[in-house]
Symmetry: none
Subunit: 190 residues, 4 copies
DNA sequence: AATGAATGAGGCTTCATTCAT
DNA sequence: GATGAATGAAGCCTCATTCAT
């Protein structure tokens, strides 16, 4: 509850983001974070009550925001979600959802084993699957396959998020991915 | 030295497979394995010299076999690989490569962080990407995207492996995935 | 309390002797002993209640016998000790004391850390030192030095015991050592 | 990273020295060290990365220094080794080599089983034996005996090291030992 | 506000020993 | 008489976390 130096706070967050992203939550040590920041471990705990809260600060609000916007899309109230921009299509929607938060997205998707966020990937996949099943008649023996393709969609998004260096690249590759996905998906609905 | 009672040995292997599969290698403790099997931790070590060897027994031979057959496919000597069956196309090849070893495949792909197998996923992806780049002219700005799509292909295989209960399902879904993939990939080569 | 096969019993003893001699008591494992004997560890325990008792069987009687004869020598009742042979001098006495039991002697001297025999070396040294001090006037500032030389004497005996392959060699080298010792010791009593 | 409170660090070193000295490296547990120091085991590891490093800190630099000076003596470049003092004879040389490091010497000689230093004793003995054989004609049947006497020499040094409380005592006893040794050794060369 | 000191819990592994068949 | 199965205690080490200054 004391006045903390914002620079340090930010540096801790930045370093944690980098390390969680590279090594995962479990694979990253408080000692390592403190070491790279250049402070003592005990000082780290002055800024963040514990390791999980660090993760919360990094991805918590994005997590909430993402799920909210995501649900909105799925329930067709999506005209104005994701940062106030009207989303016209899948590619654009996903681009908006990740823009500026690629590392958070990757952490949530692939690097949160052992935390309360570990179900994120499954959640977003399942939601979209259910949505699709509501909208479309899915042949029972294809149900699993729909899950696979949705998983693939998010896997692709995550991979793109990993290397994207700017919005333009992100946007164009996500669009490509959406096309790839949509063209491919027709396999299931001949 | 001595051959142990198969029931327990098998139970350990089955339990480890289940837990590694669910929580990953690192996320699974010897205590937990022993606990679920219903034996003491020290007894576990009578059956398997250490934790990594448990993983070896589970995926080691599959790992070797997979990489061998995989290289054969990539170098076009693939007429008779993967269990002696002639493979006519991508779907069939991947089906043959996973048949009967779905859980092993999943563990190698997604659950081997912190072991000598941790590079498996990257290896199979990179190999295929290089292969594609040799065979096809890939526009530089699409290179990353090829990686994404290959990653997607293997992600799909892994997801299918997760729920497949019999060869027929596995075969048909892998084939579907291959079609989905090939149809979708045309996006990159308009 | 069942009838045990003498061959196995002997083989266990022989193997333990060899291993304790080579690696020390602590450095030798019951598994290793059983393995080299070719029986199960649990069977080993049918023959010997525990690891320390194994050591007892190997060196216990020699230990008692040694100390008895040794005390006899020190108290000048040594005319007929050590295997019924009259000992005329130091070299002969020590030869008699070790003859046929070199490995036991070495184990007692150097390889019994962590057992009730670990004080053996210190005991024999101290006894002889006290004896000398009773027999001779030792200048106070030389007292420690007497201990050193006695320790040296036993160290030499142990080293000779390590490589001696027959009684003749043992006898001659122990005699040499005694001469070396006696000639050298005069340094203290000029 | 950080410099620790010297008191505790020193207390750990002192306690380890004492315990290694008394019970050997293997016979001493981290629990025991921490217990005697009055800290938790985990705290011990804040000061020393692992058990072997504790030993290194205790004897490492002495070990290097000793072997260097020792080789110098053996190759007759020994006029000015061991702390810059010209050594005129064996006794003086050994005194210089041990001065101020008696406990380290003892640990290296007798208490380092199971560590990288375990060959020290054999090394110094073998070196000197080889040196003697180069300088002198040793009758084949006496070769073993030379080894025994050299072993005895170092055993004596170690024993003296064990109780020596000051340089004067150390010096005079080492000198006495050298005389004892040289006078005794003439037995082999009559 | 910052840090060195400290720790309990838990992770992997080995060992001597017991038990049921 | 022999053995595979089983175990508790202990060993080394790391980690997230707390406390006193």
């Amino acid at each position: 509850m004391q006045v903390q130096k914002p620079e340090i706070r930010e540096k801790i967050l930045a370093t944690s983001l980098k390390l969680f992203y590279k090594q995962g939550y479990r694979g990253t040590t408080t000692r390592q974070i403190a070491g790279e920041v250049g402070i003592s471990v005990s000082n780290l705990y002055k800024y963040f009550r514990n390791k999980e809260i660090l993760l919360d600060e990094l991805v918590g609000s994005f997590h909430t925001w993402y799920l909210t916007g995501y649900q909105a899309i799925l329930s067709h109230e999506n005209k104005d979600t994701f940062d106030g921009v009207a989303v016209e299509n899948l590619g654009q929607a996903f681009f908006e959802s990740m823009k500026g938060h690629c590392r958070e997205f990757v952490i949530l998707m692939h690097k949160s084993q052992g935390t309360k966020y570990q179900g994120f990937k499954q959640t977003v996949i399942s939601s979209l699957v259910k949505h699709i099943e509501k909208e479309t008649v899915v042949h029972p023996e294809n149900k699993r396959m729909v899950e696979v393709l949705v998983s693939n969609l998010f896997n692709g998004l995550t991979e793109i998020a990993k290397y994207s260096r700017n919005d333009k690249q992100l946007s164009s590759h996500v669009t490509l991915l959406a096309h790839y996905h949509l063209r491919g998906i027709s396999v299931l609905f001949p």
